[in-house]
């Protein structure tokens, strides 16, 4: 079946597959690196053992997730060339230096200090160790800055001209980096990463609270995560709205697909649920609120909203995908807000936060929700900018390498096999690490009272070095 597809489709499948696997890990590790910095900071400041235990608990999980992010990221750095060589040749002079800056200012920083953070605790003092943790956290954020600038430039190109060889060449670096969609996309993605981590941490905290309500570590991490949910989820919804308005300005076809609008309308409804049909150019079985679409997008009940029919058929993104991925993302966003508000309500009474088992089950269920929302959001923005790689200027079909279909199909199969094996195992190990009690003190790095009291360090630790 795979071998019947053309090279372009296969290359797109390969990119979608490898980038989707990749984004899961940075989305999680950006937030987790900052969380580790907070935990170690609290430990150094307050000297409460629980922060140290939590730091060591999440550090191991970070190491596994970060390793998977690194190796899947190396693949991305080369895939531009192997499968999208025409794009690389044409866009390289603009996006290449930005990615070069990402490597120089972020990847080396993370990698250089990760070793000290993971292995160097006994070799450097607490101050330097904390510095290393901060550098790892800073590296993840710097990396996000550059790569989102690259992606945003591809969505809303600015500051370039086109030379005789057909290459995009830089004219104004400031305009390239701070292209129109970059600030919105950056804020939206970093908040998404923080929410993703908050819900993973909250879900794991909830799991341990369900097993043992008294667990000190579980209480602290659950409470911290719920604060993040309550504070960041509303900000994220607001930031997402601004990002959407920016998209409406620069990529109206994408917004039309997200909304499921085919007709250009004055006083457009907000379609909550429906089934878009790109062939028939209609969204069937609509459940819609009149005028709300215009109100949200133009801030006027009778504002005009462009539909997909306003664009030539070969310049439209597939609404059948974008419509659903967008709803999935937004739905999860509001569910996160709900959990955050629920937790605030429970804080009104002492200890209720740690005893509401329904809340804990809900938080556990929501643990992977951030990852799903991140993927859905990226599907929305990436599928929504089709058929272009550089929006309005270079089509996806023109971007691909002149590679024969069988070669791409073979490598795609190889990627699928290796990734499922490797990342399946990695996820399993992460879950197993998550399942260990956060209160257990690691006897290798710790000689605290609980260890002296003879708590069994557990079989998995014996497997360690």
């Amino acid at each position: 079946m795979l071998f019947d597809l053309d090279a372009l489709t296969l290359a797109r499948m390969q990119f979608a597959f490898t980038v989707s696997f990749h984004i899961i890990f940075p989305a999680f590790s950006i937030g987790l690196a900052s969380y580790l910095a907070v935990l170690e900071g609290l430990w150094l400041w307050r000297k409460e053992q629980v922060y140290r235990d939590l730091f060591n608990f999440w550090k191991k999980i970070f190491a596994v997730a970060f390793g998977m992010g690194v190796v899947s990221g190396i693949v991305m750095a080369y895939q531009f060339g192997t499968n999208w060589s025409v794009f690389s040749d044409k866009a390289g002079p603009v996006i290449g230096p930005l990615m070069g800056y990402e490597v120089l200012s972020a990847f080396f920083l993370e990698a250089g200090f990760l070793g000290v953070m993971l292995f160097g605790e006994k070799r450097v003092g607490p101050g330097l160790h904390y510095f290393a943790t901060l550098m790892v956290a800073a590296g993840t954020l710097i990396s996000a800055t550059w790569i989102l600038s690259v992606n945003s430039w591809m969505q809303t190109p600015a500051g370039y001209s086109i030379n005789a060889a057909g290459q995009f060449v830089p004219e104004d670096w400031w305009a390239v980096i701070f292209n129109p969609s970059f600030p919105y996309r950056f804020v939206h993605m970093v908040l998404a990463a923080y929410l993703t981590t908050a819900f993973v941490v909250g879900g794991i905290g909830a799991w341990h609270l369900l097993k043992d309500t008294a667990s000190h570590g579980a209480r602290v991490m659950f409470s911290m995560a719920m604060w993040m949910a309550a504070l960041v989820a509303p900000i994220q919804i607001f930031a997402g709205d601004l990002h959407g308005l920016n998209t409406l300005e620069y990529q109206p076809a994408k917004v039309a697909a997200m909304e499921g609008h085919y007709e250009t309308q004055v006083g457009a409804p907000l379609i909550l649920i429906g089934v878009p049909d790109d062939e028939a150019e209609i969204t069937r079985y609509q459940l819609a609120i009149p005028k709300l679409g215009s109100l949200i997008l133009t801030h006027h009940a009778d504002g005009e909203v462009k539909g997909l029919k306003a664009f030539p058929k070969d310049q439209r993104p597939p609404a059948e995908i974008v419509f659903w991925s967008f709803r999935l993302m937004v739905g999860i966003g509001f569910a996160m807000l709900g959990i955050g508000l629920w937790s605030l309500l429970r804080r009104l009474k002492k200890n209720r936060l740690y005893e509401d088992r329904w809340l804990h089950w809900a938080a556990l269920f929501m643990a992977p929700s951030g990852l799903v929302a991140v993927l859905a959001g990226w599907v929305t923005t990436e599928v929504g900018r089709q058929p272009y790689t550089v929006y309005g200027l270079l089509t996806t079909a023109e971007s691909a390498s002149p590679i024969a279909a069988p070669a791409v199909a073979t490598s795609l199969v190889a990627f699928i096999i290796v990734y499922f094996f490797v990342f399946g195992a990695g996820t399993f190990y992460i879950l197993r690490l998550c399942g260990k009690s956060p209160d257990r003190v690691d006897p290798e790095t710790e000689h605290g009272p609980s260890h002296a009291a003879g708590i069994n360090p557990g079989p998995a630790l014996k497997a360690g070095g």
Partner: protein, 334 residues
């Protein structure tokens, strides 16, 4: 006078690739030698000797790839499809060995699986890199800004030779690294391995060096034309110095000399390659000036590189300094 930015960048990219080869070279080499260690404890020590630094080492590979895209986008767009199969194989192998650093500590039952992923991945990645390098040296046909060769051009007697040569070379780096970082029985074993891999590496370097000038007339002219030969002859002479250092270092049971002599060998081979290549980046079609991005791209990234590369070297050196000396078998956070 204008600054020749493509020339400067060719030097910087070459430096990144060299840094990658020598740094990831020894940790891939440790992976290649991994299955030869009989005791599980020895394997733990071998792994721990590179665990804190492998990630930084591999970042040079990302810089090599990312830097090529930034400053020589056309070369990137030609080399990557031309070397499609070996590069994909290398990437997948690097995935397998990279995750093994963490995964093997997370399971007792499945540890053997990740040990195989580590050694198999290291071996395949190295062999693929060697073949890719050989294929680049062989030359890449280009028509109209696109790769114009066949999909199996990267397989030839020459590329098989360079593949094997790199496996031996990395194994030598790995063995001498372990001589430097370990003690007792493991160090003894590593020293024996260094003798074997060292001899094999030297023979293979000789074979590749003698073969290369006959692949392309430009390479031949570079090495044997008078008076350029006076300068290019320095490289083989220095190679002899490094071989002497390796030999005496192993004979005198020195901790450091074998490793640094082996590093020297790699640096010199790389310099030799540079002598053959210059000023081509995709021989024989494309010079560095043909492939370069506009000066505005090169200049912009150069500013950052001039500030950041020294910083990177400083904290990389610091990180090696923190983990200096013999590996403590009881260390590690796992």
């Amino acid at each position: 006078m204008t600054v020749d930015l493509p020339f400067i960048w060719a030097g910087l990219i070459a430096f990144a690739v060299l840094a990658y080869v020598v740094l990831d070279g020894f940790d891939l080499g440790v992976g290649i030698l991994f299955p030869l260690a009989k005791k599980s404890h020895d394997r733990d020590v071998m792994m721990n000797s590179v665990a804190p630094v492998w990630d930084g080492n591999e970042t040079w590979l990302v810089l090599g790839g990312g830097g090529l895209l930034a400053v020589f986008p056309l070369a990137y767009a030609l080399i990557m499809p031309a070397l499609y199969a070996p590069l994909i194989a290398m990437l997948l192998a690097l995935v397998l060995r990279g995750v093994a650093f963490e995964f093997r500590w997370r399971t007792k039952r499945g540890q053997f699986l990740w040990d195989w992923a580590f050694s198999g991945g290291s071996l395949i990645a190295t062999f693929a890199q060697g073949m890719a390098l050989g294929a680049l040296v062989q030359g890449i046909p280009v028509v109209n800004r696109a790769y114009a060769g066949g999909w199996w051009d990267w397989v030839s007697p020459f590329t098989l030779l360079t593949g094997v040569a790199l496996v031996m070379g990395y194994a030598l780096l790995g063995a001498t690294w372990l001589v430097m970082k370990t003690e007792g029985e493991l160090q003894e074993t590593s020293r024996k391995q260094a003798w074997v891999t060292g001899a094999a590496t030297i023979v293979l370097i000789g074979a590749v060096s003698l073969w290369t000038p006959f692949l392309e007339p430009i390479y031949f002219a570079r090495w044997f034309a008078w008076p350029a030969m006076l300068f290019s002859a320095i490289v083989p002479l220095l190679v002899l110095v490094c071989i002497f250092g390796l030999y005496t270092g192993l004979r005198d049971r020195s901790d450091y000399r074998p490793f640094f002599s082996s590093l020297g060998l790699f640096v010199l081979c790389f310099a030799g390659l540079g002598i053959s290549f210059y000023p081509y980046i995709v021989p024989p079609a494309l010079s560095i000036w043909d492939a370069a991005a506009p000066d505005k791209s090169l200049g912009f990234l150069l500013v950052g590189a001039l500030v950041l590369v020294p910083l990177i070297l400083a904290y990389t050196a610091y990180s090696y300094w923190v983990f200096r000396g013999k590996v403590d078998p009881h260390e590690g956070y796992h």
